[in-house]
Symmetry: C2
Subunit: 237 residues, 2 copies
């Protein structure tokens, strides 16, 4: 039975981390809201269609199971679609990396929403400027520096984050870089100069045959100013 | 061999979610930095003592393994210390709830640090006021309302979040309430009036014998203005 992904239809957002994994694996899935609108999604979020309603989208339906939280979905999918190690310690390490991606995504989002999701960007522009400056100066180098470092320390070489094969965490790191280059073309280029392994991993992922096909298709939504990664030139230090 | 917990010694912070689980289970553990200072912790964070350095504390040493990310540590510990279901779907649902706790903790922290961790609270007081107002008005009710709802939907009754027995997620929900009552005594009381199941769960957890003993001991650090939950009366609606 095909996996069913439920996510807001107009943005890459957090759903994209799941899409990348499903697409790279060649898994059979339906992107439900892009085909049928958001009503079926809302029935799950409201707790009308399940006793385990996710707090928010994305969530995945796998048979009768409804699984929420991006990193949790990838933890569940990982072995099943061949994008996670089987051994428990490496499996948990992959998930730990993904949870650090999750932390990064919150901070990237908050560059344009430091006062929270209840105000529009237009109502928090000076605050966004201050937060973005700190993000580009200290947080982005700290996060990307950590990814660079764990690539360097990987006993199986620096081609992938975990072991000698691609995992969903590599796809997510690719997506972070895509987002940074869209949102902060100048600021991120400066930081990435010092991160050769991270930059090379991005290109290695982009060249994976199924993923390259997906990225060139209209299933890959373009970035826009409703998602996590937004291009506001005034924030790009 | 005793578990080793590594976390900043002066605050409850994210480490407290791990301490509550270890204490409730009566597990043998060492709170390393409170006994030996932070130098051993830094060796792991710097990648000098492991090829899998966590991005940040807390992390847990279990034999030779070094495991980071609060929710990931609890996922690892859960079955081993009897605070998670054995069946895979319920185990993943417990983790999903914990990841929603993680999301909540970020937002609770950001009420006093909306512009990020690179500025002191004193340098972002008007911004903290705006973010706290939105937090108390919409985010806190949304999160606690979700916990109330999943308690209500639990097929095994509304005493615990998952099934008919306590899990680490219940301990974490207890801790969130402790934090909210410390940081926002007025604002949280107003919200909790409408959340009888969540409030009752808090008291049920506080009465667990080993946990009650821990909470009365000097191992339980008091809340203070260096942690996640801070009492700044000017932010309390």
């Amino acid at each position: 039975m095909a996996y069913e992904l439920y996510y807001w239809p107009g943005i890459q957002g957090r759903g994209e981390f799941i899409r990348l994994a499903l697409e790279d694996a060649g898994a059979d899935y339906v992107d439900v809201c892009r085909e049928k609108g958001t009503a079926p999604m809302m029935a799950f979020l409201d707790g009308k269609a399940t006793t385990m309603p996710p707090f928010a989208a994305p969530f995945l339906k796998d048979g009768k199971r409804v699984i929420g939280q991006t990193a949790n979905i990838l933890l569940h999918l990982g072995d099943k679609i061949g994008l996670a190690p089987k051994a428990e310690p490496a499996r948990l390490w992959t998930h730990q990396i993904q949870l650090t991606v999750t932390d990064f995504v919150v901070e990237a989002h908050d560059t344009h929403h430091p006062l929270g999701v209840d105000f529009y960007y237009e109502d928090q522009k000076p605050e966004s400027k201050r937060r973005s400056e700190a993000f580009l100066k200290s947080r982005l180098p700290k996060f990307l520096g950590w990814f660079e470092h764990i690539l360097e320390l990987n006993p199986k070489g620096d081609k992938f984050l975990v072991g000698a094969r691609a995992t969903y965490a590599d796809l997510s790191l690719f997506q972070i870089l895509e987002g940074m280059r869209y949102a902060f073309p100048k600021g991120s280029a400066k930081v990435l100069k010092k991160m050769p392994r991270v930059a090379a991993l991005h290109d290695r992922v982009a060249d994976r045959p199924r993923l390259a096909k997906y990225l060139a298709s209209d299933r890959r939504l373009p970035f826009n100013e409703h998602g996590i990664f937004r291009c506001y030139p005034e924030l790009d230090g």
